[in-house]
């Protein structure tokens, strides 16, 4: 790697050692499934290029996605927004308010036309002209059209922005729709989840910054590195599923013993996400819903989370369990049969009877001998 002052400078600004900064970038590269070379490239991209402008639009949402990002530790949110990206508009995080905020957004969009990244959390209301979510006197639809026009990439973060989420589930009074139904002429990257794992979002952003490319997406436009496999496939409780050990009630023996939650309505078998692999909150030790005994409700899967009843059984995408499992401990051997019991009983009876008779006869014989002895004496 060429000696590059910019790395030292950015490391200094972050209050990190150069080594720690490189380690962080390599870590992000690993999350993306890239080589350690990519980590170095990423470090240089972060250090060298102008920080990309990000405009974060919040529609009908609960701020859970932002909260989730706040909990990220590598990088922390402040590292992200102060050193890696230029977060030019965010209702939750920006200092400016009112007209100032609007001015900042417009300036950023104008200055970075065609280069900035739009992140949307929350679903977009369409009923009655979309009047149910308005900022600065304009509906979210209008804001979205305006922002998408000059955007290099659009990321829909969270289940609401990706599939409609809570606001779009029946009876859907606001006519809420996902971002991808408003913006049809540009690809929308979906990072679903309620909330999504912050690292799935961060890794996608880092690839955008570094290579200017979008990670490989599946047919629902989710990055494959994060949503390529079923939760079921990497679940630590999977062996219980295969062996037929299910919790059937909250708090029952199986639930307490950490058995499979499939029969409680766990949607892991039909939901694609990397939750069991990277978990939540950076604390390890099974800190994710299934890991702590709460069935997965399928938040990252279109038509599952917020749509299917919580306790309805999942439609297993891979192999459904058989109705009957072979017993874990098959019955081996023959118990007592009537014939054997009769024979043992007969022997016991013979011993008892024989003993009784012998005792009596011995007594009689002894008495007789005594009498003879006394008589002869």
């Amino acid at each position: 790697m060429p000696k590059d002052d910019s790395l030292d400078r950015i490391a200094e600004r972050l209050g990190l050692s150069r080594r720690a900064f490189l380690k962080f970038c390599t870590g992000v590269a690993a999350t993306l499934g890239l080589s350690s070379q990519a980590g170095v490239a990423m470090a240089q991209a972060v250090a060298a290029s102008r920080r990309p402008s990000v405009i974060w639009l919040s529609a009908q949402e609960c701020t859970g996605c932002t909260e989730s990002l706040l909990r990220a530790t590598h990088p922390t949110l402040e590292t992200l927004i102060l050193d890696m990206i230029s977060l030019d508009y965010s209702e939750t995080l920006m200092v400016a308010a009112g007209h100032d905020a609007e001015v900042a957004r417009h300036a950023a969009m104008k200055e970075n036309h065609g280069k900035y990244v739009v992140v949307v959390d929350g679903s977009i209301p369409t009923k009655d002209g979309g009047i149910y979510c308005k900022v600065a006197g304009k509906t979210m639809q209008e804001h979205l059209y305006e922002a998408a026009e000059g955007a290099a990439a659009i990321i829909a973060i969270g289940s609401c922005a990706s599939w409609g989420g809570v606001p779009a589930s029946g009876p859907n009074p606001t006519g809420a729709v996902p971002v991808s139904e408003i913006i049809k002429d540009k690809p929308v990257i979906n990072i679903p989840g309620c909330p999504p794992n912050p690292y799935n979002f961060l890794a996608t952003v880092m690839q955008l910054i570094t290579y200017g490319t979008v990670p490989e997406l599946d047919k629902e436009n989710r990055p494959k590195f994060a949503y390529g496999r079923l939760i079921h496939e990497n679940c630590e409780r999977r062996p219980h599923f295969d062996a037929g050990r299910f919790a059937t009630e909250f708090g029952d023996e199986g639930h307490r013993k950490g058995w499979c939650l499939y029969k409680l309505g766990c949607k892991g078998p039909e939901t694609y996400a990397n939750c069991p692999a990277i978990e939540f909150g950076d604390v390890g030790g099974g800190a994710w819903p299934v890991g702590v005994g709460a069935p997965c409700f399928g938040c990252t899967e279109k038509g599952v989370g917020f749509t299917k009843p919580l306790h309805e059984q999942a439609k297993v995408a891979t192999h459904t369990p058989p109705d009957m499992f072979p017993p874990v401990h098959p019955d081996v051997g023959q118990g007592v049969t009537p014939g054997a019991a009769a024979l043992v009983g007969a022997v016991a009876g013979a011993i008892l009877g024989g003993t009784a008779v012998t005792v009596r006869e011995l007594g009689r014989m002894e008495k007789q001998a005594h009498d003879e002895h006394d008589a002869s004496a």
């Binding site: 051997g333 022997v347 011993i351 011995l362 014989m365």
Partner: protein, 402 residues
Amino acid sequence: MSEYRILKRPLLTPVTLFFGVLAVIGLILLAKRFIFGLGSVTNLNDGYPWGIWVVYDIMIGTAFACGGYALALTVYIFNRGQYHPLVRPALLASLFGYGLGGLSAVIDMGRYWNAWQIINPWQQNFNAVMLEVALCITAYVTILIIEFLPAVLERFKLETWRRRLDRVLFIFIAIGVVLPTMHQSSLGSLLILFGQKVHPLWQAVEFLPLLALVSAVTMGFAIVIFEASLVSLKLTREPETHLFAGLGRIARWLLVAFLAFRFIDLTRRDAWGYAFDGSFEAFMFWAETALFILPVILLFRESRPVHSPGMGRGPILFLSGVCVLLAGALYRINGVLVGFNPGPGFHYFPSVEELLVTLGVIAMEVVGYLLVIKLFPVLPKPHPEIDHGKSAATSQAPAAQA
């Protein structure tokens, strides 16, 4: 002049015939076992590789056969010559018990054609308790044959050979006392190796060899009382109570010792809770313990004056003997089968055919015993005095005279 006689009775009697039929059934089933394999006759499986054949024919059978050992200990080690007349019948019972026990081990072996490897030095595993038991029992059967030889030599009046044998017999008698001490305790040690599979009420670990040995010696005394009572009642019609009454006094202290060791062990392992958990194992434990305690009570009562009301001495001794034998048998059945849990899913109860083989083996012992006492001088000569424990043969019977 021998103190033994040949019983002058017809060889074929209804009793011999009855047990003969049982023995023949056993032999037919054994033929089936050797032609079609263990599975065709037994209920053994991978969880219960040891069934009634090992528990009864070997463990209980050889403990029942400890009469010779118990008497050899009493007569030759503790120098109680008055019991010498009982030695030969006890030796005969031991010979049958151990001989058929050894045979049963081969019957129970899946690949019995490899049994000879036991004496093949480069196939021997010197860490195996099984090897110790196998070699020891084989050696002891040989010793028992030599110890019994005087009866055969007497029968054929080979006096020269008899005298030659007498000069070296003490060596065999000494070995004959050492060997059962070794393998009877080792039969207990086998249970140590079962580890957690044995229910805590019976998994006494370091105490197992001691418990096995003490119970076996006690059962040895009991079988002498049992056998002598039956012989005197059914065959000679002459009470022999005066001969074996003293054995009951030894047995009762052995029983107390056994119970003490048993209870100390349960206490030190905190296992008493299992005796009160209402399980089948707890029930069997109390059945077994009751059978051990009952003869203690009976035998301490027995030492009261003869003419006191209630049961006489003979019946009390006989009843105690039966209790001890059943208690020892139950202790072994409980440890190896009832309290044995090889893991979920496994069941075992002996099949009818398996039980018939065991009954056949017992029948063979009875028939063999009845035939031998009618052909060789085995039973003690009748004594003119009745019910005078120590009068008989106090001055005679040094070791060499066996």
